[in-house]
Amino acid sequence: MFIEIITYRVVGCSNIKIRKDGSLTVANIIVKNLNVFYGKKQVLKNIDTKINSGRITAIIGQSGCGKSTFLKSINRIVEEENGRINGHIYLDEEDILKEDSQILRRKIGLVFQQPEAFPMSIEKNLSYIMNYHFNYKKLELKERIKTYLQMVGLYGEVKEELSNPAKNLSGGQKQRLAIARCLCLNPEVLLLDEPCSALDLKNTLDIEKMLLELKKKYTIVLVTHNLSQAKRIADDVIFMSEGEIVEEGSSKDIFSQPKSRKMREYIEYMEG
């Protein structure tokens, strides 16, 4: 059911290319010389990297090193918080800093670090977004709400209370609702800022399973504090420190043979 929906949407998307063998490919994110400022403070310094489609990229690093800001720059929400972005971010060839920000944000969904449940019912949290972007009939809307809630493993828990206020959900449930909200954009890129920080192990593993499934269709970037999570699901890892990328590479290499001292210290520190 879900795969059908995605395919149907994906084909309608301008950025999706069809390979010779008929399969679909989503865009890579290429970052060139990115500098981000909040007021006079420079939060990101000379970021150069490439984030590959069809893979899960984990961003790790001490808190305050600019991980959230990096995601917010790719979604350009930094601009609404009066931050300044210099440099280039490409979604394949297209410079997203030149694109209309609203169109862009629909393509690049972001789940905030501590997402809010919007002050409305659970189902309206999703229909509020879908009604703006799409023209679904009532029945399809209902069907989709169910699908997205199922994808994040929330449907079973809340199916009796879809019209109750979402503010009564637990922290973990709110986090999953926020992921569902993002999924209902049918984006090309999913940016997730510590999406499992309030979840127990079972829900965490469910979300990870979902991400592994989704990575065929999306470019996924995940900020995490949980190194074992990064080892479990990330294909690539970016390690940041003080606003800079210190080390990046495939998950296997980077965890088995960290090159920089900072990275080694960080791993040691996190693993106790």
Partner: protein, 284 residues
């Protein structure tokens, strides 16, 4: 142990102060009711004023309606502008220079004495623009006076109950007007009504801004916004000033007080029902 004694002491002082506030309000209300008891009746509410000197017989009906119309119109103008200002300050100009300048100007405006608003409105609207003394003219003046209050309140409401939702909604590609219409306003409506109504009550009780711009001693119920009008505070002011009839003055005062309190309670009720707590909140 010491902490506990101190805590209890502070608590008792606060309770005492609270009781004084409640007591004072009750005292004023009862005093006014008692002194005006002989004139207060249904007829006093529903009759036109009469007698010589004027106002020492009959009722205050046109003044009640005039005050309500003035309040409504001011709330409409001042409320709308104040809420728009608040939206701009909280959601559109956070941390920008234009936002800071606007906020400074509004803070300055909020410090101006009400008579200044009356004089400026008189010079601008009546003297320069040639408007007649009218309900509209007074409502504009009152709106200007309550605008800073409503703006600052509205900004605070949007900061607290809107900003994070706003940013997160924007990150999902929704447009600002859509977010405001579908999420921000519905979520803040109860408190916004509270803020506007407080501003309105403050405006309805003021005499200085309407003195030169629209209020008159004796007028029928306004038939349009261009008519001059009667108002309770001004009626009261004239009666009390002339000293002919304390009873009629205090009767008028009672009607004014009761009206303000009823409106306040209604707005409060509206706000609590919006938040789904019903009657509980009034007594909190």
């Amino acid at each position: 142990m010491k902490r506990k004694v101190l805590d209890n002491l502070i608590k008792s002082i606060l309770i005492f102060l609270g009781l004084i506030a409640v007591g004072l309000t009750l005292f004023v209300f009862i005093y006014v009711l008692y002194r005006g008891r002989r004139v207060i009746s249904i007829r006093f509410l529903l009759d036109n004023p009469s007698g010589i000197p004027f106002g020492t017989a009959g009722g205050v009906f046109p003044a009640i309606i005039g005050t309500l119309m003035l309040g409504g119109l001011s709330a409409l103008i001042g409320g709308l502008l104040g809420i728009l200002n608040g939206l701009y300050l909280s959601l559109y100009s956070k941390g920008t220079k234009s936002g800071r300048i606007l906020l400074h100007l509004i803070t300055i405006l909020s410090g101006l004495p009400s008579i200044i608003f009356g004089l400026i409105a008189y010079t601008l609207l009546i003297y320069k623009l040639g408007m007649g003394k009218s309900l509209l003219c007074s409502a504009i003046t009152i709106s200007a006076m309550i605008l800073p209050f409503i703006t600052i309140r509205a900004k605070k409401i949007f900061d607290e109950k809107g900003y994070t939702f706003f940013i997160e909604s924007e990150s999902l590609g929704l447009s600002k007007p859509y977010i405001i219409r579908k999420l921000i306003i519905p979520n803040c409506l109860g408190e916004l009504v509270g803020a506007v109504s407080l501003g309105m009550l403050y405006g309805m009780g003021a005499v200085a801004p309407i003195l030169y711009t629209g209020v008159v001693m004796n007028a029928p119920i306004p038939t349009s916004v261009n008519s001059p009008f009667m108002s309770l505070p001004y009626h009261l002011y004239m009666l009390a000033n002339s000293g002919y009839s304390d009873e009629y003055a205090l009767g008028t005062a009672f009607v004014l007080l009761a009206m303000l309190i009823i409106i306040e309670i209604l707005c409060h009720l509206f706000a609590s029902f919006r938040e789904g707590v019903g009657f509980k909140r009034i007594f909190r």
